[in-house]
């Protein structure tokens, strides 16, 4: 398994395996970064990018594999040790000390000394000099918190560079930056490159990868699936490799339990237009009619969950309009949306769905309680009737309504959460990854159920990372890219290639909605 040592490479990670209890996070993965190279590391949720970086920096111990850095085999015990040996990491959340000065942050832990005391003059001078190299002029004696996020990020990079780093790892550095700040960051990255420093760049924004990176490593399900100069791959190919799909015209493989054929769409139910919030939502449009399933597609970070949360009133928006049944609504909280007949089953069952210590009964009726009570007192008879009805109807496997929900399997927990909304008799159901992380049997049952619900006139907005689910389940697919709606594919036109093309390029190649997706 030992790979040949290649002297042209700065970093060579080979055959990396990392096992967590019950999960194989990395499986014989590799990552090779050349000298003075900006290297993109991409992959969807659970692909193993973060684990790979943590293995590199010593935050995780690897179970197997070799790491060769700058010509010798290394085995870092901690990120500090990796940093001392020339690998610095800059995380999404800037891990600096907000109330200390810029120069203190840059030199923290190795302040220049003079007669045993801190040499403030030299420290400030050196800090200013490092920042100037990147064209940044700030008062280095002021507290970090006075600066905007982009400059703080530069300080983090300056700190990394001042360690004489040979490799800087940037984990989604642009997620909190605006476009001008991103441009500044790219200048810094190019400057690093000129100075012979390599950069590993993790980002979900395809345009950024193609703008600044030399090579790309694509990961999926814990393996490295491709590695090549970025000029040799198109955005569409990149998306296809990330999702593990071949470019073909296969439309229906029968991989899901959704029925064939289109639902009878009825009157307009939800119209959301121009939703905006920071950089995560930059003009998302979605509309759902009664009795149809609308799929919401996009890569990780495209703004799918954010769109759902904005519609549901869970997050505020800076701009945009939401109409329910033709009337403009302003949901200030989920309870407003619930009263208007919307249900929302979130992506992360554990952290946002179940109330772990409550029983199946309480979890099912949590949203329904206001209508189950008289003077605030719960009508237990009515509650039990409803709970038993839905346990039976959805086939929830439980020892009884009193069983704590945390003891149920993932699929049954998901059914309880569906029951929570179905017992409200909603008009619109927003399902964020309704079948993620549950076993095949329960998955099929839930897909069948969603289908039946739409047949009965419920409007469904379904977010899914599984293209089969969107292709076979949805009557229409709305594609988001970088927080804006770039395409809307009617049932006849829904295909893997079509969705992936929209994810990769935006709307240019897709006829409908071209006017909306184009920049500006």
């Amino acid at each position: 398994m030992a790979a040949d040592l290649r002297t042209d490479l700065l970093l060579q990670m080979e055959g990396i395996t990392k096992r967590f209890p019950g999960v194989l996070a990395l499986q014989d993965a590799h990552l090779r970064v050349g000298r003075a190279e900006v290297h993109a590391l991409v992959g969807e949720n659970g692909a193993g990018k973060s684990t790979m970086i943590k293995v590199l920096t010593g935050a995780y111990r690897r179970d197997n594999g070799t790491i060769i850095f700058d010509g010798r085999a290394v085995d870092f015990q901690s990120p500090q040790q990796a940093q001392a040996n020339g690998i610095s990491t800059i995380y999404q959340e800037i891990n600096l000390v907000p109330l200390r000065s810029v120069s203190e942050n840059i030199f923290m832990g190795r302040e220049p000394l003079r007669y045993g005391l801190i040499d403030w003059k030299r420290m400030n001078y050196d800090a200013a000099a490092i920042l100037q190299r990147f064209g940044i002029n700030v008062d280095v004696t002021q507290p970090l918190t006075n600066l905007n996020v982009a400059v703080q990020q530069m300080v983090a990079i300056a700190r990394a560079v001042s360690f004489q780093s040979k490799l800087v790892v940037m984990d989604e550095p642009t997620s909190s930056l605006d476009e001008r700040e991103v441009a500044t960051l790219f200048d810094v990255i190019r400057q690093l490159k000129r100075e012979g420093v390599s950069v590993i760049f993790v980002s979900h924004r395809l345009d950024e990868l193609f703008a600044v990176c030399d090579r790309v490593t694509i990961m999926r399900d814990g393996r490295t699936v491709d590695e090549r100069p970025i000029s040799e791959i198109t955005k569409l190919q990149l998306v296809a490799r990330m999702l593990g799909k071949e470019l073909s015209e296969v439309r229906r493989s029968g991989a899901t339990a959704f029925s064939e054929g289109v639902h009878q769409a009825r009157q307009e139910l939800l119209q959301a237009e121009g939703l905006r919030r920071g950089r995560v939502l930059q003009g998302a449009d979605v509309n759902v009619r009664a009795g149809e399933i609308v799929g919401l597609a996009g890569l990780l970070g495209a703004g799918r969950s954010e769109t759902a949360r904005a519609i549901f009133g869970a997050d505020s928006v800076e701009a945009g309009q939401v109409q329910m049944n033709g009337e403009t609504v302003h949901f200030r909280s989920p309870s407003d949306a619930i009263r208007a007949g919307i249900g929302f089953s979130p992506e992360d069952r554990k952290t946002e769905g179940i109330i772990p210590y409550m029983s199946v009964r309480e979890n099912i009726t949590l949203a329904l309680l206001p209508t189950l009570t008289r003077y605030g007192i719960i009508d237990r008879k009515k509650q039990d009737e409803i709970v038993l009805k839905f346990i039976e109807r959805l086939g929830i496997k439980t020892s009884g309504p009193d069983q704590p929900i945390r003891e149920l399997s993932g699929g049954n927990q998901q059914k309880v959460l569906l029951a929570r909304w179905l017992c409200m008799n909603p008009k619109l159901l927003i399902l964020d990854e309704p079948t993620r992380g549950i076993d095949v049997g329960a998955k099929g049952e839930i897909q069948t159920l969603i289908n039946e619900l739409a047949d009965n006139g419920l409007g469904v907005l379904m977010i899914s990372s599984e293209l089969e689910e969107l292709i076979e389940g949805a009557d229409r697919v709305v594609v988001l890219r970088d927080g804006r709606t770039v395409a809307e594919l009617p049932h006849q036109a829904v295909s893997q290639d079509g969705i992936m093309a929209a994810m990769a390029h935006g709307s240019e190649q897709i006829a409908p909605k071209a006017e909306r997706g184009a920049n500006g």
Binding site: F344, E352, Y357, M358, L372, T373, G376
Partner: protein, 341 residues
């Protein structure tokens, strides 16, 4: 493991190691559910046999009288802790209520001259003021997103200062049998505060079990993000529990000054926050929120009280008694610890 493989021929021996974890899990389940109750019964039995004159009306009455204020405050604390919060200001709020009441019925603030008006006011106003301070805690926590331990630390420090300022730091002594009924009255021979305590525990326990509010408290503490997405008005619920905690502190403050026939802003409710938190924890409500047992808290407070009484009755010095008390808390928490989820 090796043992199991080696003794494969003898089936009885093979099964033994399999049974053990099941049995211990069952014992632990009993410990979690009934641990506090069992401990209380053990303490009662011990005293019944070994402490002279324990089973007399007077001893029981003394113990219940002493525990009443802790139970009342700890009941509010249980709700706060059920939402995942904590209230350090309870003792100070008791002091504020205790300082206000005499000012009203001794007519030091305004002269009304009619006790039919001043006495009801002396009950109602301090309790409402304490409730408002509780609402202030809740506002800091919900609107300004300050962590509960810090937010309530504000009034923990400032509250006693406020109580001293309104009384000019003076000890207010009084003798007013009508007002002091809350602490000294004995309808049917039962101390009034004991009745009050039982009624409050019963009402709050019922509210937690049977009402939407009770479910919301547990949902907000069990998983705040999920509760919000299910339409639970999390902020209003939190505001309510801190307000309720404040109101109950107000009542407890009145009881204390009524018993003492005086109000000393330095002493009313001193260290109450620690006693109340200990009662909640010993009673089996985890400090992480999402679960709560009001009756458990009642039992927890009784256990703490009985331990103190038992040690005193058997001549253990007070200093040593504190160490034993701490050890018992540790044991109680250990017995009720939760399995990792």
């Amino acid at each position: 493991m090796a043992n199991k493989a080696g003794a494969a021929g003898i089936s009885a021996k093979v099964e033994l190691p399999e049974q053990e974890p099941i049995a211990s899990a069952r014992y632990r389940g009993i410990g979690q559910t009934y641990g506090a109750l069992i401990a209380l019964i053990v303490l009662l039995l011990y005293n019944a046999f070994f402490t002279p004159n324990f089973l007399t009306a007077q001893t029981i009455s003394v113990n219940l009288t002493q525990v009443a204020t802790i139970v009342i405050v700890a009941t509010g604390m249980t709700l706060v802790i059920a939402t995942g919060g904590i209230d350090l200001s309870v003792g100070s709020l008791m002091a504020i209520a205790g300082a206000l009441a005499p000012l009203i019925f001794l007519e030091k603030l305004v002269s009304i001259g009619n006790s039919a008006i001043t006495l009801p006011l002396a009950y109602v106003v301090p309790v409402i003021v304490a409730g408002l301070f509780g609402a202030f805690n809740g506002t800091l926590i919900t609107r300004f997103k300050i962590q509960p331990i810090i937010a309530t630390l504000v009034l923990f420090i400032a509250g006693r200062g406020i109580a001293q300022v309104v009384t000019n730091g003076n000890l207010q002594a009084f003798n007013d049998p009508v007002f002091q009924y809350i602490g000294l009255g004995r309808p049917l021979g039962i101390p009034f505060q004991v009745i009050l305590m039982v009624v409050i525990v019963a009402i709050v326990a019922w509210v937690m079990r049977a009402t939407t509010f009770g479910r919301y408290v547990l949902a907000a503490g069990g998983n705040e993000a999920a509760a919000r997405l299910a339409g639970v008005p999390v902020n209003a619920v939190k505001l309510a529990v801190y307000t309720i905690s404040g109101l109950l502190c107000g009542i407890a403050g009145l009881i204390v000054i009524a018993i003492n026939s005086s109000s000393d802003a330095n002493l009313v409710g001193l260290n109450m926050e620690l006693d109340a938190i200990a009662a909640v924890a010993v009673g089996g409500t985890p400090l992480t929120g999402g679960r709560a047992t009001v009756v458990g808290t009642f039992i927890g407070a009784l256990i703490m009280q009985l331990i103190r009484f038992t040690l005193l009755a058997h001549g253990v010095p007070d200093a040593a008694a504190l160490v034993v008390k701490a050890a018992i808390i540790l044991v109680a928490i250990y017995v009720q610890r939760q399995r990792a989820v």
